[in-house]
Symmetry: C2
Subunit: 366 residues, 2 copies
Amino acid sequence: MSISKRIEKIQAGLRRKKIDAILITEPHNRRYLSGYSAPDHDIGESSGALLIPARRSPLLFTDFRFKIQAESEVDGLEVMLYTKGLLPLLQQLLPELEVSTLAFESHYTLHSVFEKMQTMAEKFSITLAPMDGLVEKMRVIKDGTEIDKIRRSVLLNEEVFQEIYTTITPGQTEIDIALAVEATMRKKGAESPSFDTITATGKRSALPHAVPGLVRIKKNKPLMIDMGLILDGYCSDMTRTFVPKKASKKYLKIHRLVRKAQLAATKAIRAGISAAAIDKIARDIITDGGYGKHFGHALGHGVGLAVHEEPRLSSRNRKFLRAGMVVTVEPGIYLPGWGGIRLENMVVVRKDDCEVLNQDTTWLDI
Amino acid sequence: MSISKRIEKIQAGLRRKKIDAILITEPHNRRYLSGYSAPDHDIGESSGALLIPARRSPLLFTDFRFKIQAESEVDGLEVMLYTKGLLPLLQQLLPELEVSTLAFESHYTLHSVFEKMQTMAEKFSITLAPMDGLVEKMRVIKDGTEIDKIRRSVLLNEEVFQEIYTTITPGQTEIDIALAVEATMRKKGAESPSFDTITATGKRSALPHAVPGLVRIKKNKPLMIDMGLILDGYCSDMTRTFVPKKASKKYLKIHRLVRKAQLAATKAIRAGISAAAIDKIARDIITDGGYGKHFGHALGHGVGLAVHEEPRLSSRNRKFLRAGMVVTVEPGIYLPGWGGIRLENMVVVRKDDCEVLNQDTTWLDI
């Protein structure tokens, strides 16, 4: 769907709800609806906002730092600069645009900012309508162009993984490997990593969110690498676990169980099955293998412009999968004091099955 | 001031305002008041919250991922884990703790989260009191221990800069240098960079927030490096601009003007002078030199647990500096199509003067 089609869809929704305009501040949504790619440094340091009126073309607001970037990236959108912040500009524009009901992104607006917006709104008799997840709901289904971008992100990520994987030696530390991963990503043209690279050796691999440390790789212990990058806006996310030298029998047994769970879940993914049902398929296999309580997280999550987005493949998500969703499938078993094994691929949900986007087979079927 | 003294100060303030407890969610404030150092992945993915009741000891809430870290870092604080998120736990605890007025950090609470808190609060007849900057106001004055930590952060940052500076060659790209900077930081024990390293060559140095690119260093053009790291929680922030080979006369002239502005402003910094007055001293020198409109940002900002905090050294900040504040002094001149020069040091405000924390003199007085 082109950006203008996305905008039309939002506008139709606004008209149905009798809302005059929506202010988009969440950076991925802003990019999805405008092409403007600047991320926010953080929620308190916005790189801009997109105002979509129900009946006229959108306006992108930003400040002088991003003027050139914004103007070169957006197509058919007017770019306006604010010098004293967004609110004073809105205060001037909203009455001109005859906006009397303004929607805003409740899940990406600070309460302190909301209070200021509320003061302004009262002054101009504007009603504020909090909205949550409106654009995210559109983003959850990817079209062919988006899937193509995600595929390229996945393949570049694998290229980086291979380049690092072939040079891993026991003398290196976790930090050495993580830095090499992120440097290689940037050298190969990624915008950035899609999250902080995880490299965890030995028993540290039992921490699902380990931060790389000055710890040397153990040659006969598990090494878990969880990495992803952003290419053309779209994220990848992949985990491989392996043993640099010789894997123990216990390692092989657990690894094969994780892979079995991954394969079974992948085989079952198709439009019309619930997220919880897919999670259960993987979880049952791990439970039957005796490690149920050591698989402490959900099976997967959506990936797109954000590295974590809907749908969650969790036992609590009863919603049905739909064609065009892109999700990770990442079962894991974590034994405190021993280590952890997680294997993660990304798949596209199709009508009758799913397509695995990953080509890399390193240490999957051992 | 020890953490327990900080807590006592907050509690005394709560009692004065007849507030029963405050919920601290902003990660730097959380660390300042507990020692718990996990950052938030982003505002929607919290690593925990600190509840400070007015009349009993604080509670740190987090989830199982951070249990070990939290318990080892906090001293004398109870750590409680939530499994279904923070709100269900609060819903159970607040009535037990007889909290009828609960303050929260308005500037680090999403509107969507506030709405859920509001629903819970109404159910239990709790009044919510938005607060903004309560802890930040305490953080703005650093004690000796904090200044010592900042000093070590500054010196380690300079050590990293020197290691990279001596190896810069024109064949490298901006990205090569930025990656080397960040890798060296982590290898030398920094927690992380305090912001994305800026390395900008040639006319790209005219963009104050340039993102490093696959652009080769130009040997006779300005190279700007703006870098900082986090050590033991505290940030550093330093900019040096230089020419790898031979600087032009124009370069030397502008560089000396920037340095003159920096020195004059630094000389004037002391407790009791307004932030705006300091900004003006530097700005007047650059304006007199003919480049006033090319110094498009404020002169400096506070640095501590956050790399950008109060006070801003800007023309709009009429507040007086106070002893124990730590600020950057970073005038810059940016000429579109030519390049930019910014020089940045950090200083501690003292009663009658200030102390420059930087020892590095690379390309300052040329």
